[in-house]
């Protein structure tokens, strides 16, 4: 597998990571910047008018080594053996096939609520 990149400017300062599009998106009422359920992770990012947010998606063993602990480390349901990144206007920002129906996801961000660099490691 290869590492994938995307520069995005979501209309609603968030993008979502899930195993399918028809999921319940957890809402971040407490502005934690990152909130997750079993089937979807809501990641806040930079306000669209202030620039793009760079997203890196790849198998964790292929990503460059990071000394800091991930901001999120949990399991995501991936019943269709796929992880999809999407937002309200883009049904697929990035996607990656996975082997299991539950996939470990680790996320590193460079800001608690408005990162412009988000790294997502799978597996």
């Amino acid at each position: 597998m290869t590492i994938k990149f995307a520069d995005v400017a979501p209309e609603y300062v968030s993008f979502y990571i899930a195993g399918a599009l028809d999921v319940r998106i957890p809402l971040d009422h407490d502005l934690t910047g990152l909130i997750a359920s079993d089937e979807c992770i809501n990641v806040m990012c930079l306000y669209w008018n202030e620039g793009d947010t760079k997203i890196t998606l790849g198998p964790v063993e292929e990503l460059p080594y990071r000394s800091e602990a991930p901001r999120f480390d949990g399991m995501l349901q991936t019943p269709e053996h796929k992880v999809i990144l999407f937002d309200v206007n883009t049904p697929e920002i990035l996607s990656m096939d996975v082997s299991e129906t539950k996939t470990r996801v680790r996320i590193w961000t460079n800001h608690p609520t408005q990162p412009d660099d988000v790294v997502i490691g799978l597996g």
Binding site: E11, R24, I25, D28, Y47, W48, T113, Q114
Partner: protein, 222 residues
Amino acid sequence: MESKESTAHRTGWWLAGLRMQLATGRLISASKAGFRPDQPRVPRGNPDGGKWTYEPGYARVHRVARRRAGGGHVRIGNRWHSITLAQEARLAQSTGAMRGALRDVRKLDPKWKPPPQAYSTVEGLISANRAEPGPFAREWVSAPSTNRRLARSEQQEVDRIGRKWGCHRCGTKEPGTRSSSFVGDHQVPKSMGKPTRIYPHCLRCSSSQGGLLSTYLFRVQK
């Protein structure tokens, strides 16, 4: 024993209250059922003189049911608010639409409810039901006709409006962004049409709206 001055003061208050009641009555009559004062009526001298009538180019007259005894008020939060017949009709219409949407959203997030600030008034409640600009929407910036970002002057205008009126949905004057800029909220949302206006949004409302819209578009509409 009260002094003459105190009695005069009380009479003044009483008269002011009476004037206020009369003014409110006139206001309620003027907005009754949403009729405009210049809407055509049957001329004086006719058997139906004074009643609303229909002329080409004007809205048709529709009979509305008489208000039930004790009606005319709606409870929002812990307070009762006066409501006109026109507002009642619009509220009923918007509530019907909102109930369906709310039912769908609560299937996904049983605990979700709109922030209480969003509908602390009758108009706020109607507006919140329709997912229109929120109750604090007063001024806006014209949305660019292309998909470009806002120019610095446009963002400054969004911020000025936000600092003056607050987030158009919840009214907070703290945008919550790291730059202290308000998030420009397209109305209508880009996913639902071509936006013509941009209102200031706080980070929390922007994120919530995005999650709800995405849920609606990708799950409920499926």
